[in-house]
């Protein structure tokens, strides 16, 4: 593992039993986990290549307990790593040897549902899917749907600004959250946003969403819920080349259609998925597109026909339109199982998450093939085609010496490529520890300093989830200094006030 985390603070490690005893006074007796065997389940999130048992795990149940734990740790200079369900793919919830792991699993209640205001107020440990389940009887749902939705927590979704296959039309988490309760590292409890649209002052909620657990601990979330669309239809379209599939995607959008979902798979992914779930994916095609539209029956029927026409004009070689729910779900079954399916064709796979301008797709896929040859590793691609979010899956075998390191290096080159063509390092999985050291590919030192000063405004001692997102940790005092640029002042006579 090539990752370097901040060196553990030996003075903190030496005080471990004292710290555990102090935490036991702040939360329920069964809410502090310190035995080494019991710590093991927490040693990684879903980026399992990186593991580190935490110093101790705390499982608070109330916002007062969260506040007390954070304030105590802040006062003692002890680091804290928040954790939801541990499904992060970027190592955002990776523990530190000298940090308290703050597990939010016990915040598992749905607090209020208002159909009049179309919101649900939930605790952060509630799973994404549980929100939809709580409101579906009334015909509503929570729109962002990460593939991990049965397990991932809404608190984790807020921290990662998670997306899903439907986010082209319905947005990411940030577009669907109206308010949160947040506890800062110093224990201050605050509410940002509410049940109304737009905050009164700075959009602090907007920056906390996607802040990867570095700014504060989320203890309550108010999400928007939407009425379920009346229906949905999907098209399953096979293309002779990646280029024609990519052009089809561009043409759909140019026709003014924003599909509910638009997913692409390359040949390797198609074959892996078909071998796994046997849903009748065409095997002779180079690229497969699933396009879903939702809404009123008239809307779905009209749009699916338009999409079919666009597909034909882009030389589609297979084209199926769903005529019932079973068929529609069948089209999705292979895509939804793509990750585990790829898991069957290689001992290990490493999932990447860059975004590119869509027009560069073919070029990027070809460059990835070249890289695959250079690194001697296989690659399969699934792709949120509508918004340019790539998920290349690098195939490797962790038991072969050197392969993990090669896979990591391959992944880094893919992300550099994404940035080079005008894209970004991560579309939905977050920077975490995984892409931390690549941040300079996208941002220079001044850009990063501006971001890190925001961190300083929330957590001046850098105790909350350190070692994530930022490649270098500058002390806040150092960042705060101002070296004003004077230049040749063209404006010598500014009035003073």
């Amino acid at each position: 593992m090539s990752l370097k985390m901040p060196p553990p603070d030996q003075a903190v490690l030496a005080r471990r039993s004292e710290i555990i005893a102090a935490l036991e006074r702040l939360v329920a007796a069964d809410a502090v986990i310190s035995e080494s065997a019991a710590l093991r389940p927490y040693e990684s999130d879903a980026l399992t290549a990186y593991r580190q048992p935490p110093m101790v795990v705390v499982l608070p149940e109330t916002v007062q307990q969260v506040s007390a734990v954070l304030a105590w740790c802040d006062g003692q200079g002890v680091k804290v790593v928040p954790r939801g369900s541990g499904t992060s793919l970027s190592g955002g919830a990776l523990p530190l040897a000298d940090a308290v792991l703050l597990g939010m699993a016990r915040f598992n209640r749905i607090l209020d549902i208002s159909y009049a205001d179309r919101v649900a107020v939930v605790q952060p440990g509630v799973t994404n899917l549980a929100i939809t389940q709580a409101v579906e009887e009334a015909g509503f749902y929570y729109a962002p749907d990460p593939s991990s939705q049965i397990a991932c927590s809404i608190g984790g979704n807020v921290a990662e600004n998670s997306g899903g296959v439907h986010c082209l039309k319905y947005g990411l988490t940030t577009h669907n959250v109206l308010g949160i309760e947040l506890v800062l590292m110093d224990g201050e409890i605050m509410r940002l946003g509410g049940r109304q649209l737009d905050p009164a002052g700075l959009d602090l909620l907007g920056v906390v969403v996607g802040s990867e657990g570095l700014l504060g601990v989320v203890t309550e979330v108010t999400v928007r819920i939407l009425p379920r669309p009346e229906g949905a239809r999907a098209a399953l379209i096979g293309f002779p080349s990646v280029e024609s599939a990519g052009q089809c995607v561009a043409d759909v959008i140019a026709a003014g259609i924003i599909p509910a979902g638009m997913e692409m798979m390359d040949k390797k992914a198609i074959h892996a998925a078909e071998a796994f779930v046997h849903v009748g994916y065409p095997l002779e095609v180079e690229a497969l597109l699933i396009v879903e539209v939702d809404g009123a029956a008239a809307e779905c029927d009209e749009l699916i026909e338009r999409i079919a026409d666009i597909a034909r004009s882009n030389r589609a070689i297979t084209l199926r339109l769903s005529s019932n729910e079973q068929e529609r779900l069948g089209f999705w079954a292979g895509r939804k199982a793509a990750f585990p399916a790829v898991g069957r064709i290689a001992p290990d796979y490493y999932c990447m998450d860059g975004t590119i301008p869509r027009r560069r797709l073919a070029q990027v896929l070809h460059r990835m093939e070249e890289l695959a040859v250079r690194y001697g590793l296989g690659i399969a691609n699934v792709f949120h085609a509508g918004d340019g979010n790539l998920h290349p899956l690098i195939l490797y075998d962790a038991n072969q010496p050197g392969q993990l390191e090669r896979a990591e290096a391959f992944g880094r080159d893919i992300l550099r490529l994404c940035v080079e063509v005008g894209g970004v390092l991560t579309g939905e999985h977050g920077v975490g520890v995984e892409k931390r050291d690549l941040m300079p590919e996208m941002f220079n030192a001044t850009d990063l300093a501006h971001q890190q000063r925001l961190k300083c405004a929330f957590d001046p001692d850098l105790l909350l989830n350190p070692g994530k997102v930022f490649p270098t940790l500058h002390r806040c005092a150092e960042l705060g200094r101002m070296h004003v640029h004077h230049g040749e002042s063209r404006y010598p006579d500014l009035p003073r006030f």
């Binding site: 205001d117 179309r118 959008i253 949120h384 929330f458 500014l494």
Partner: protein, 386 residues
């Protein structure tokens, strides 16, 4: 008032750096359509109209990069030409202050978080700003966000920059998400409803699968005729027709829904968006509440003489009322929301902060964030009385 009018990033850095060194206060301004919001202030104007033009527009990618001083009208014409739109419906505040129309710029509407009726379903300025380049109060150039629709790399500073009222940094380039323009749009209306009935009907509509993008209510007091509750349904022609038919059924308990002819509808939505029915005179407040609480707010304010209209299915209440600032703020807060003082005579604006006061902890955090971007307070003009 001194005005600085830089035309390049290096001139902009000089201007900000010079102001910091001189201890001056800078107000970032372009068209000035919102200059009458907030308290009077003695400042040096930092005019960004020199940063004008389109940097990159790729309709197929749904992404547009522009300079902040570009007039909104120019951007609207550009995207309309490609059959696209800014889905958050930004609008020109000029006429609200009896200023000539057409001066609002894209930088200004983003920095003030301006959005129109479709914000209800399609997001606000903050949801459409994907990335930016700016010069902070440290006189340093920095970028944040990206030029693609989906991006979670680093903090989402574009969210913070939208609606920051020029208090953090001067943007020199903005990347926006654009959307396809709907093929057709129908407006359906109910007549004669009171505030509670209108909110009930709008709630019903928003809870249905009719995909209503905007819902507004104009009470009888603002009209020559009966009260009007409006629903906008965009989409492809066939789908719009089908959804309108369904809507009529769903809303039957609330009255007979009729379709408003297109030109009349455009005029009505334009009026709602620009708050025209509240007239050119008097103080205007913008109250954001959970929609279900809107009727209670107007029940309290009407006896004080308030004129009002609802947008965002009740989530936005525009109120015209001369005095009673404290009561307006208290009523908004009691309903779980907040109130912005948009238009008011000088004395009121100098006494009452434009933005609703935040809690102690939130204000303190906001202040720390402003100092992070602007340590010397060069953008602290006193406009917001904090």
């Amino acid at each position: 008032m001194t005005t600085l009018a830089p035309t390049s990033t290096s001139e902009l850095r000089d201007a900000i750096g010079g102001a910091v060194a001189a201890g001056a206060k800078l107000e970032i301004r372009a068209g000035g359509s919102k200059a009458d919001i907030g308290a009077e202030r003695a400042v040096t104007l930092l005019d960004l109209r020199g940063f004008c033009g389109v940097v990159d527009y790729d309709p197929a990618e749904l992404v547009l990069t522009v300079k902040p001083g570009t007039p909104l009208t120019q951007i609207e014409a550009l995207v309309t030409g490609e059959n696209q739109s800014l889905a958050f419906e930004p609008w020109d505040h000029g006429p609200l202050f009896s200023r000539p129309p057409g001066v609002a710029t894209i930088g200004g509407v983003i920095a003030a978080g301006v959005a129109g009726p479709d914000r209800l379903a399609r997001g606000s300025a903050r949801d459409h700003l994907l990335g930016f380049t700016a010069v902070s109060g440290r006189a340093e150039v920095f970028v944040a966000g990206g030029r693609v629709i989906k991006n979670v790399t680093g903090y989402d500073l574009p969210k913070l920059m939208a609606a920051s009222w020029g208090r953090l940094a001067a943007m020199t380039e903005l990347t926006l998400r654009v959307c396809p323009r709907p093929q057709a749009t129908a407006t359906m209306a109910l007549e004669g409803l009171g505030a509670s009935e209108a909110v009930a009907a709008m709630t019903r509509a928003m809870g249905s699968s009719a995909e209503v993008s905007a819902a507004a209510h104009l009470p009888a007091a603002l009209r020559a005729g009966p009260a009007l509750t409006l629903f906008r349904l965009p989409g492809f022609e066939r789908s719009v027709v089908a959804r309108c038919a369904k809507m009529a059924e769903w809303l039957r308990p609330h009255g007979a829904l009729h379709r408003v002819p297109q030109t009349e509808a455009d005029t009505l939505w334009g009026a709602v968006r620009q708050v025209a029915p509240l007239g050119p005179e008097g103080s205007i407040w913008r109250i954001h509440v959970p929609p279900s609480r809107a009727p209670t707010v107007v029940q309290v304010l009407e006896p004080l003489g308030a004129q009002w209209l609802f947008d965002w299915a009740g989530g936005l209440i525009w109120v015209r009322l001369q005095a009673h600032a404290e009561q307006i703020r208290a009523t908004a807060a009691a309903a779980g929301g907040h109130a912005t003082l948009v238009r008011a005579p000088r004395e009121l604006r100098n006494a009452v902060p434009a933005l609703h006061p935040r809690s102690r902890v939130v204000s303190a955090l906001e202040a720390r964030i402003r100092r992070a971007f602007d340590p010397a307070g060069v953008f602290e003009t006193g406009r917001f009385l904090d």
